[in-house]
Symmetry: D2
Subunit: 510 residues, 4 copies
């Protein structure tokens, strides 16, 4: 089912107060929270919009109803491709992170891993996950995703911390459910989510089985506290701009002995699979980045080109070179997402898993380039985003005429449009909010060093060594040589299987 | 039809002598030419090899017979994906450029553009192209591709040169055909090709219609002279290695008033389409690079990892980082090829055209990184590739024992394997042949600056400007805003069309 | 003379109100202006501090009295080296741009060029400059420097703008002085300067002689309006930090028919030398950057290393690599300044001119790296600078205990120190003020593209071409070959002359 | 004393045969060795040339006679600056590494460390070093420097290898001297050196005291075998070029139980100082690189600009940008050398030691950029360096007219000059010899990763942490705060001391 943004906001406003910000307990209607909430409301509006039909919406594989794509469990390569596109479109409409992907990534990861847990341990997690997914789709749920623990001393494992609560853990099991304690950081959209899905942050050992826990709670559950930092472009007095309606929140999320009922527990003690779940979520989220980050670059590219045109320098060779650099980052990351989608595999749960090499090389390239992209925008825009007088001076009778006289560029472009252009660039490059998006560009979904690890642990580097040995005339194990060519071949076979998936998926998704 | 490598070599040896090298007229059996010829022979052998069935081979859409993929006219997205794979496999077997893609890229470009010419001008070029394609497939032809003119003074157009022959041109038309004059440079595999396909190198004006000419000639046609430079890894005395059997040739190709019969003329005066043909070939060839260059990186990566393992340093963090850098280049370029394939469009001739944005961002990334990749290999290998004693000193009774004693690394790896490893790396990084492949990595298929131009001329940058204006609250032309969202939507539609293509193509290719 | 910071602030407070900010006319005691003013006050305090004797202070070459180094006219290589050091020390104390260098750079440029004007045109500008310099030193003046015009349509020259006021110009000459009109942008510290020195922004033609104007006015002169944007790290409630006492202001500076008395006019119509003056100031300022930017990098490096140590990851190889990258940027830029100082030349006025190749390659490297440096700091610090709860939540009874419990890193480091560390990094990387310093890092003193131009116009590239021709056996003009070796030799001679300068300067500066 | 190149070559030819190459025992007149020998002969010729007086020559501080600068023991900052210049000039004359610096760097390192050893251990090494230095200067000696051991298994220390000879060691001490065994690799100019200075390659432990050995032997000493690899640009048949007269040799140097007389032993068992000696030599050699590498870049830059001018594209913005990149690398590295020289310290032996931070950041930048520089040259030159026909084809009657007709660029430049230009670029970028200089650019004098280590171990990073703590309001150890400012101050003091050194050194060196 898809619901209206109004219905969703009403649901938000009915929630209990458990957000702390600036030293106070605040409601979900706090002015600093509204801009972030507007982003999620936008995702509900887009689903109502005819032009996004089939992009933002799809059909539930559970009950066949129309659902928001960010509630979907990916059934096909096409679903993965459409998810990339939906994310990119979302960013085009709000200017930066559209946030809602996280809960979807967590839902898919839970769906896959609960099935695997059941197969391995004879548990019944997957039924819970299916029920949760049905509830999720039926109610058009928005969920935050809480993964990163506070971690304490980074040189010690979770189980070796002085304070055992530095990673979220089960402190007690009761008939009703489990009691969890700990804190998760960087929880984007926590203050305007319906639910919070909680996943382990890393591989765990047997001694750390209390940390191998995954669950979902309503965001206003007793004992959950959201200590929030909100960000948004500077509010406008007169020169309103769509981008400035939006913002974000990131909350330190405290679990102060929270009771989670059993039907919401999706892993509890199966430490052997904690890493699998952690990394599978990361893989979904990095695939999401391969749709998201190109959208972010589109925005940077759009403003770079706009200010270049206003200044009449868009044909200068260095501007052209830098524009091509931006296009290359956007489209290489997007291409990595396409390759990751096209080479996806189907999990035992039926849900598709994007190819992790491609999702990771894509996310890594994005993370390596975000500061460079800001540098390009700033290099083309010049110093004005840093020294632009405050908005009131463009309104005041005394100063506005001076600024209108002197804030000129190419003939035919009004001083007001130039002003708007630079003010938005100033928001992007020279504000706390702009800083948040630089940092998120590096760390969101895992920083480049995390992708390096993921790439190396997934890549068949032995095959490349075999190629080198073959070419150099170094004798090698015959078995490996066979694998080399088998590998080559099976890869294409895998693709042909995908063709069948494409085919079969059409009946579902069209 | 697919023929044996022996049959092909016999055909080569039957050709007339028209190759000049080192000041002499030489035959196609010259020892410096054989290594390059071996690469092409390998492409015939691969087609006979069961394990490459469906990768190196496919079915002709003309007569349904089994053909070498490098004779194929791409009928489907899958064909394009398989072409990428076939090229990467070829490089795994010879260590660098497998060369035969060029003729195929030219053939496809001719097939598409002749159809367009006929539609526009009522000519009959496409029938000629079809006949040529049928001959090509029936005889398992290997063709060189001659595009780059010598160009004279680069600040002047073709028609403004002091010497009108600085670009290949039609000097006369006769009943039998056209007489052409000029020279093309960097003609890889000219000396061991059956045919040479000749294309214009750039956009032409009406005054330059004599330069708007495309044709194919047998490589030993009267008046064609190949002034050749051959390259190969240093020949081995004792420590033979498969890679060292292979090499390449690049010929300055002179057309000294060559008669081309009309049935081999595919463009003659249609200057408006000269640029279309030039760029379409480039697009096919850049798509080819998205399969080729990952193979080259695989080889570099394989040797980097091999020497790191032999030295026992493969787990050092900087080696891991650099290995991930190499993987990222390989797979981002390959992903760009996949995206270019998946987002291909079908031309009026029925032949698929890869998406030019993705083929160009892929090729560009490859070209920007080749020197960096060599740098990584060298940084990991240390100085020995530059200072390794000559091979004879590893054979001589006096010096071999010293070198065996002192050329050691990790326990369990023989001095001989270490020697082989470094000798091959020395061939790759410290030989004239290695230099050729650095330079080809930059310029082959068009240097990064050419891809920058292609990207900018194909990309919908206006859409990005519209996004910026929308976000900044700058009023814009309503029509453009509509296009923005229409564009978004149609893109997915295009993909759905591809799904049908996938589907329909299966009956052809399986 | 050196005066106390209190005396200087009193002088500031006595000035007339001509600053507009946020739509209002404000005084020099406005809370948003005070942080920037504090930076300049700091430069007065440092001069009083025994430990900076000889670094921040020196002796006037005019009257032998002790002066602040930022009032000095550089008499020796040692003066230039000490200026680099003084700037780096200043930044260590306030955390970023210490601002006062600009006026000094302008003063030196005026001193040199007025002498050259007099020699060429028989004018008496240099006497005015000398009188101004004496006043400057006697009163321990702080001056802003106004160079960048608003420029209007960038594709048109100053004289071809629709509105002739897009570059500051002389609109009238009277007996008392000149009347000037126009606006300068990015005028750092305008709102807390005693004086504003105004220079042309570029080369001018004869038709543009009204734009070839240089002068100095008191910052509160009739007709001067400062439309200001102020920046500072976020004010602290409890966790006070020295860096947060400081800030900056950048003003759009309007000259609304301002009368400049003749004794304050230093160029008026000598269009041939407008470029000389513009570029000479740029050269002084880029030399200043070679002391300043290493200080900025020191701060980034210090926080990078601090947060790495707090997290216990400072020995990780990638952290070490990135730390070395930061050191390399800092010290290469500083080394460029040293080389620029050591290879300075003495102008006809006696004032030393830093070598422009070295000042420009140094500034260029700095400008190319500032975003990369922020990226390193952020990569090491993780996401917390973007998601750190507001300061009040670290004070509030309800939330502070949670944050103290969960904001832990290495044993032995208090939660409070960790909090302080991240809060300061958040100020640096995730605030409007942090954005200002990224942008200033690119554009302040001229962006990398301006240094590229300056390098190419000053470098003896012909000598390198001659070396290539010589090595390739290409015959060259004998005269050029002679120059090659003469050039080589004279360079060392120049250095030997510097030794004498070192020597002779000791009596002055010690 | 300075001797003629003829006298030196005669001395070479009188040496015993101990060079193995290509499986044979060869003399010092072998045609593959001559090109390298010519480089050293050039250094003797330059010393005779009036125009290099005071650059290539200086006065001995031992006997006051005129000596070649590459025999000098640096007495002053000026000496260090002149050494940089001399190296850059040398490269301008031969096109690449002028090789003779190594022996000089080793001599200076021995001179300093022997003095320190005597002070610490009461030994008499310094007298031996002084006698050796006097002999060195008196006979205008050319010495190779052998440092890099073969190292065996890199994961094990010298003393833990299966074969104890993987690092050069003392196997026996006799009355006459020590017997040494082992092998050193990458020994440039071994086959045309008078002497070989041997130094330890790293820090040693007490158990490894037999490896803590330094000595000098004549290059043809009994038991020394040079297994050589020689490199040179391709020999020319007709189009001779000065660069092609030069080349280099790198020898695996075997010490097969060689007797070294005591007066030639400079360290024997003082394991505590093995690292000091190893790193001090590295420091001298990296300072040398700060003169050398700019010369190499000058050559690359010269050819880049030459081919751009011949093609008429030198004003294209990307060519200008890339030219500025080359200038920046050359001059930043040179500036690092200047700063390293200016901030040198005087050792207890009186010999100056360049500042290691600056020598290392300079060498590191050079090593990071060499492949990028080749990339620039190749990007500007296009593909022709890889596909240029062999020289004979430019001579042959049949093909030369074609090549002359078609190898044209800008009007006014002869086909022959274009040919020469591309042939030399082909030698630089597309030959085994070019590969040697790429690899040497990375590894010669220590690869960037070695400089990273040296920088981190020498840099006062604690001071930067203190600055961060101060700015963030984190309480710090008072002592450290004092040091911070003391450090700042003493640094300038050090510079002032240098001024005195400049002064006092003039009497010695002029």
């Amino acid at each position: 089912m898809i619901i209206s943004s109004e219905a969703w906001v009403d649901r938000q406003l009915a929630m209990k107060k458990n957000i702390y910000m600036g030293g106070e307990l605040v409601g979900r209607d706090h002015p600093l929270i509204v801009p972030g909430r507007n982003v999620i409301a936008m995702t509900y509006d887009m689903a109502q919009d005819e032009k996004y039909k089939g992009i933002i919406t799809t059909q539930s594989h559970i009950d066949g109803s129309e659902i928001n794509r960010w509630c979907n469990l990916h059934q096909s390569v096409e679903d993965l491709l459409a998810k990339q596109k939906s994310t990119r479109c979302g960013i085009h409409n709000c200017g930066f992170c559209m946030q809602r992907c996280m809960g979807n990534d967590g839902l898919n990861a839970l769906y896959v891993v609960t099935k695997e847990l059941d197969e391995k341990y004879g548990t019944d997690y997957h039924d819970r996950a299916k029920a949760f997914a049905a509830y999720f789709q039926r109610n058009d749920i928005t969920s935050a995703l809480a993964q990163t623990d506070v971690k304490g001393d980074r040189s010690k494992r979770p189980g070796a911390q002085d304070d055992p609560d530095q990673y979220v853990r089960v402190v007690k099991k009761t008939k009703e459910g489990i009691i969890v304690r700990g804190a998760k950081v960087h929880i984007t959209m926590g203050p305007y989510a319906d639910e919070i899905i909680v996943l382990p942050t890393r591989v765990m050992t047997e001694a750390e089985k209390d940390y191998a826990v995954a669950f979902a709670v309503q965001a206003d559950t007793e004992g959950v506290y959201l200590i929030n930092r909100a960000s948004a472009p500077r509010a406008r007095k007169k020169f309103e701009a769509p981008m400035n309606n939006y913002g974000s929140s990131d909350a330190v999320t405290i679990f102060d002995d929270v009771l989670v009922p059993w039907e919401r527990v999706f892993m509890c003690g199966e430490y052997q699979e904690a890493g699998r779940l952690a990394l599978l979520f990361a893989n979904y989220h990095r695939h999401a980045y391969c749709g998201c980050k190109p959208g972010v670059t589109d925005v940077i590219m759009g403003f770079t080109q706009l200010v270049a045109r206003y200044s009449g320098i868009e044909k200068a060779q260095h501007i052209r070179q830098e524009t091509a650099d931006l296009i290359a980052v956007a489209e290489l990351v997007y291409a990595a997402g396409i390759a990751s989608s096209v080479q996806a595999t189907r999990s035992s749960s039926g849900v598709m898993i994007p190819n992790p090499i491609y999702s990771n090389v894509g996310r890594r390239l994005a993370g390596e380039n975000i500061y460079h992209e800001h540098n390009i925008l700033v290099a083309v825009a010049g110093g004005l985003p840093a020294t632009l007088p405050f908005e009131e001076d463009f309104i005041s009778e005394k100063t506005a005429p001076f600024l209108e006289k002197y804030l000129k560029r190419k003939k035919g472009v009004s001083s007001q449009d130039i002003h708007r252009c630079f003010r938005s660039i100033s928001d992007l490059t020279c504000s706390a909010w702009g800083g948040v998006w630089q940092i998120a560009g590096v760390h969101g979904g895992g920083s480049p060093i995390m992708e390096t690890i993921a790439i190396l642990s997934n890549y068949n580097i032995d095959q490349k060594v075999d190629i080198a040995k073959f070419l150099a005339g170094i004798k090698q194990n015959d078995k490996m040589e066979d694998e080399l060519f088998y590998g080559e071949k099976s890869d294409l076979k895998m693709f042909k299987d995908h063709l069948k998936i494409f085919n079969s998926s059409q009946s579902v998704s069209q």
